[in-house]
Symmetry: C2
Subunit: 369 residues, 2 copies
Amino acid sequence: MDQDIAEITASHDTGNYPVKIGKGILAEALLSAAKLFRDPAAVIVSSRVFDLHENAIIESLSGLSEYEIIKFDDSEKNKSYAYAEKILEAFIRSGISRRSGVIGIGGGVTGDFAGFLAGTYMRGIPLIHVPTTLLAMVDSSIGGKVAVNLSVGKNIVGVFHQPSMVIADLDFLTSLPYHEMANGITEAFKHGLLGDMETLEILKQNNQSSINDASTLNKLVRRSVAFKASIVERDNKESGLRAVLNYGHTVGHALESITEHAGVSHGQAVAYGMLVKSGAGLAAGMLRKEEVNLIRDIIYKYCLIKEIPKINIDELITHMVFDKKTEARQPKFVLLDGIGKPVWNKTIDEDLLKAECHKALTVGSGAQC
Amino acid sequence: MDQDIAEITASHDTGNYPVKIGKGILAEALLSAAKLFRDPAAVIVSSRVFDLHENAIIESLSGLSEYEIIKFDDSEKNKSYAYAEKILEAFIRSGISRRSGVIGIGGGVTGDFAGFLAGTYMRGIPLIHVPTTLLAMVDSSIGGKVAVNLSVGKNIVGVFHQPSMVIADLDFLTSLPYHEMANGITEAFKHGLLGDMETLEILKQNNQSSINDASTLNKLVRRSVAFKASIVERDNKESGLRAVLNYGHTVGHALESITEHAGVSHGQAVAYGMLVKSGAGLAAGMLRKEEVNLIRDIIYKYCLIKEIPKINIDELITHMVFDKKTEARQPKFVLLDGIGKPVWNKTIDEDLLKAECHKALTVGSGAQC
């Protein structure tokens, strides 16, 4: 057993919550969470994760006096407002009350869905995130953003609902394919570029293989959680600073949209966005050549972009305008004014943007993954 | 024009908002609200209210640069999670953004529905309540509780979403039938019993006719808003003190449930609950005979109970157990330890409860309305 257990406190407007990080910590952490519930807990668990880790999950839940397992076939299609209604109705039938809570076990999609249920059932009941992907551990489980999809768009309906606890058990990562690890590395890398120099060091000193070492992973997750928590703490509801966490995401979301989420993962889309932004930053004199090279080197070394299908750049740019974060229908971007120094709400000249989107396709395809 | 305009500041965990009270104030108040929106506002307006006040509403909205009127045929049936989806989709099509806001014009049902939309669209956008019933002015528009119904229960899905402004324009009350006024008087009376002595004085000194005087109404609304705001301020999320606002409501909700919302208004149900509770309080030595008489006298004078259909008391009590506010499936009540001194989380002996429920039926029917 690995004794390398970390606990980080994440603060928000009205309180704070512990983020527990380590290998094989789920049972013990859930035991300490059990006191949060005085009525049966609703356990929303990704079907895939349940199939892979059934014994460990069931054993870990034994510390709770009563719970109801609801398996969730996690996909963006099922993370819908309409499907949430079915589960909310099931909550009533299962005796889930205001004194109950929701435990979400899975990746970001499961966390979003479980979080939306917890955030809206009886005006909000306690939520425990058990992220099982590196992406969910370093990013989506922290900060309280939860949402479901409408047929007209992703994450349109949601709330800010802060968890009562986050349990990042690194044992779940042992069953995670590398391309899923890469999604998490991209977001951790983003945190590095936004100012977390230790994360950049970890990524520089390791590679696709050595990053899987338990103590390295622990450190990587710990750094990212602490960094993201420090940003969210200063701007819970994304009225300003928190927007920097969207670095690479306006371009990334547009790429995901036009490829209809087929073939291009979230991480790859964001990594592509980083290439576009770093190119634009170089052109604008905000980034130096060696900084841009560092960004490209890390993307190559960890194979953060695998393959981007043929896309129409004009279409890509049109989709940036319709990103829900845009204001007054003009795309705004986060840029780096040097590594570690994000600035937000920036516009990019359309011709430059087009040129960089083209260039990033070539650079991205150089990764040879 | 009545120059008697009041503004009360209601505080919550993360900020505060103005509650503006007066006759014919909608246009001016909306003008000051216009700065909250930088994209089109979604105006959710009760169809009934719109039919009665179309000109005034349209004129008042002229201060906003852009808005979209969505008429809402307000009923508990339409205040549903499923119907909310249709409107949320319409928001996207109408270009409602994170910088937009929702203006809800109507009674409590409209406010709940508009509030749920505002509270969940893109994780929450600004909300302005324009309550048009006395009940919504003195109670539901204050405090941030918003919710929609599932087929399995009322108000099961919702959030705490504090408004950015509440505009109580007393002109709307001129078209309100007296039985609707009575619903509001009951909640104002409840605030009086919970500790607002000035409200009790107003109710003692007036009657069904004189209460409609503009300056009396203004004072009544002002007192109730200030009282409710003072409670909510100390307990935003109903973890303790705020529970006192449910005085009369556990019994009332059960009565509403078993009469299937037909024939018994919310106000009548709560007034019936008050009679039950005051009887139980007398039996428990917590209320004096003259205090109980005062409660009955006000209920009679303002005709707060009109007629209660034949009900099965055992069924009524079963429904109290299933009220969502009950904990561990044992009904808990707010009681008065003397007028103005609420205590909460109290159980009542079942035999006593049954007897008082029976007795209140007789007392209630004595009102001769």
